[in-house]
């Protein structure tokens, strides 16, 4: 499948740890879907992998919609909306990991959140009607 210059599409995944493999397969298939090289999409793919793994970890309590990922692709601009009805989680409130904190502990938390918030061009979180809505924006290199 190759998308037109302006396209909207969505995919839905069950909210369970086992869905991580499906989420990864979907995210890593995006360059082909967008008709772009892996190098062009590397920030998008890594950021979405981290965001998806984060959602999969806290959305285990989701019941109705699970995890839904909506894409809006307009030329080089890709907007991704991740929706889940798991417990509330605002990644923008997570404290960035400190390098000093890596030393002497096996619990190295917050790296993934820090990565996807840093790699996206824009990020917005809202909690509406018991759902987490995380919107991420990416600008791909010009084709």
């Amino acid at each position: 499948v190759k998308l037109r210059r302006r396209a909207r599409f969505a995919a839905r995944f069950p909210a369970r740890q086992a869905a991580r493999k499906e989420l990864l397969a979907f995210v890593q298939g995006l360059p082909r879907l967008l008709g772009r090289s892996e190098e062009d999409c590397v920030r998008l793919v890594l950021a979405l992998e981290e965001a998806a793994m984060n959602v999969a970890s806290y959305a285990r309590t989701a019941t109705y919609i699970g995890i839904r990922v909506d894409f809006d692709v307009a030329r080089s601009r890709v907007t991704v909306l991740m929706t889940d009805d798991g417990e509330a989680f605002d990644p923008l409130r997570a404290a960035p990991p400190l390098v000093e904190g890596y030393i002497g502990t096996d619990k190295i938390g917050g790296l993934g959140i820090h990565l996807f918030t840093s790699l996206s061009s824009g990020i917005r979180y809202r909690r509406i009607l018991g759902r987490n809505l995380l919107r991420l924006t990416f600008i791909l290199p010009r084709a």
């Binding site: 499948v1 493999k21 397969a25 979907f26 890593q28 793919v45 890594l46 890596y102």
Partner: protein, 127 residues
């Protein structure tokens, strides 16, 4: 409201994302990784590093020449591997890291924890 025009059913079979191989040299082990070091592949790297530690007295170089990206789980594996090697008097060094992965290191502060070498031979020879 957003209008979803195309809802795709996507295949869920995930291809192997990372290539990994290990070589034992005189000064230590070299773990060559390529492709995508994603969440599911991180365990493979952990295993390869552990094998390298056993084979070469905790002197390990991870060569990233063909690596497209590294996720947070992969970063954790590198950090814990490095800590383990240092504890045993060895090292875990990195070589041939791409510009994008250097950016990931910079974002996460890993650039302050790892010295990056031009190639695995240089990493093994370094003092």
């Amino acid at each position: 409201l957003r209008i979803v025009r195309e809802v795709l059913y996507l295949p869920i079979d995930k291809e192997e994302s990372m290539d990994i191989r290990r070589e034992t040299r005189a000064g230590g082990s070299i773990v060559f990784i390529g492709g995508k070091l994603d969440t599911l592949a991180a365990a493979e790297l952990e295993k390869a590093i552990a094998e390298g530690m056993s084979a070469s007295s905790h002197r390990v170089v991870v060569d990233c020449a063909d690596l497209l990206y590294i996720c947070s789980a992969g970063l954790r594996v590198l950090l814990l591997g490095s800590r383990e090697c240092q504890k045993e008097g060895g090292f875990l060094r990195l070589s041939a890291v791409s510009k994008f992965i250097l950016e990931v290191f910079s974002i996460t502060g890993f650039d302050k924890l790892f010295r990056v070498y031009e190639n695995p031979e240089r990493a093994l020879e370094a003092e």
